[in-house]
């Protein structure tokens, strides 16, 4: 039986295989999420009281959260579809943890919508969904349905997750305390997802550089859908253009590292 890493060991000393076994395991996932979700039912301190909010701010927040739900639903449906396509056991287990992460995000955002007075969140999401994001969702699911692992991982775990990560972090800074705590937990999950996506694709492209051109084409097609959608979120949050962080910077850094800039 292979021993577990020593409790005081420096993680950087693990053999690469042991590192991947550790971080892609169910045990790692549940110890990690227990750390930041314990005593935070539905993603926030249950004793928090609602910050007073005027009707305009509430309505904008509802639109924003509805579009977060569209993104999370796309991620839930795509990641669950990817489980069957996973090329190995560790990726399969990791994706299963991502499926439940995405479902949790959907749940906490929908619960937040209810807190804000939305009686039927599913219907409200349909009403307020950004068309570009809906188009992205359809396109992503097409990639999953045709079994295109590389393109689907890129679209979901690099493109969508990078955008969400940037927007959620930015939103954290101006959000009411309940929404902020919810977003902090979601961002902690996103770190795993975008890291998995970039590293998995990076390894595969290192072995087969010919895949870069095809992924660059996928990227060219999907970029405008997601970028446009999240720019819309900034507008909904009432943020002046000069105050917006550069939405694509984090994503473009990842694209550059993967060599998909051509």
């Amino acid at each position: 039986m292979r021993p577990r890493p020593d409790r005081d060991a420096e993680p950087h000393l693990l053999a690469e295989e042991d590192f991947l076994r550790e971080v892609h395991s169910f045990d790692f996932w549940f110890e990690a999420v227990s750390g930041y979700l314990e005593e935070q039912p539905f993603g926030h301190d249950p004793d928090l009281v609602e910050t007073p909010m005027d009707d305009v701010a509430r309505d904008s927040l509802i639109t924003t959260l509805c579009n977060y739900c569209v993104g999370e639903t796309a991620a839930l449906e795509a990641s669950s579809g990817l489980v069957r396509l996973a090329p190995n056991h560790h990726s399969r287990v990791f994706l299963a943890t991502q499926v439940v992460d995405e479902a949790r995000h959907l749940e906490v955002f929908m619960r937040r919508l209810e807190d804000l007075g939305v009686e039927d969140p599913e219907a409200e999401i349909d009403r307020r969904a950004n068309q570009g994001l809906e188009d992205f969702r359809s396109r992503l699911l097409e990639l999953v349905d045709r079994g295109d692992w590389d393109a689907a991982v890129f679209a979901q775990n690099v493109l969508l997750e990078s955008m969400e990560d940037t927007v959620f972090r930015f939103h954290e800074q101006s959000a009411d305390e309940i929404t902020r705590q919810v977003l902090v937990g979601v961002v902690a999950d996103e770190r795993r997802h975008l890291g998995f996506g970039e590293n998995d694709l990076g390894r595969r492209l290192a072995h087969d550089p010919s895949g870069r051109r095809r992924l660059a084409e996928v990227r060219a097609e999907l970029d405008p859908l997601v970028l446009g959608s999240f720019e819309g979120v900034y507008r909904d949050l009432g943020i002046a253009r000069q105050d917006q962080p550069e939405l694509g910077r984090h994503y473009l850094d990842a694209v550059e590292r993967l060599g998909l800039t051509a």
């Binding site: 890493p5 409790r7 005081d8 420096e10 993680p11 950087h12 000393l13 693990l14 690469e16 590192f19 991947l20 550790e22 971080v23 892609h24 045990d27 790692f28 110890e31 990690a32 750390g35 930041y36 902690a188 770190r191 795993r192 975008l194 890291g195 998995f196 970039e198 590293n199 990076g202 390894r203 492209l205 290192a206 850094d253 990842a254 590292r257």
Partner: protein, 105 residues
């Protein structure tokens, strides 16, 4: 975080450095980073953004922007792991002398 004298028992930890000068070692405290299992938490901390000066035993993960820490002072060529985003990285020295981490696929 307390700086300590070199622990010779650990001197074989990092073997890839070109610099033979002894490395400083550091005791690591838990900084409240909770996104990895308990036994790994002290090896990571949240980056506070511009103005957050890194210690010699710290580098930023370019993928997820978490600060990666070690008991040992980093040198170019060191391999490090970012557990929060599952990336494998190597420490590199930029032309201005700063140490950063590049992703290894």
């Amino acid at each position: 975080m307390n700086e300590t004298t070199l622990d010779t028992a650990e001197s074989s930890i990092v073997t890839s450095s070109a610099d033979a000068a002894p490395r400083r070692t550091f005791e690591l405290d838990d900084t409240g980073f909770k996104e990895v299992p308990k036994r790994w938490r002290k090896f990571y901390r949240h980056w506070q953004g511009a103005g957050d000066e890194l210690a010699p035993n710290e580098v930023i993960c370019p993928v997820c922007k978490v600060v990666i820490r070690s008991h040992r002072e980093f040198r170019p060529g060191d391999r490090v792991y970012c557990m929060p985003c599952m990336s494998r990285l190597v420490v590199v020295e930029r032309p201005d002398g700063r140490l950063e981490a590049d992703v290894l696929y």
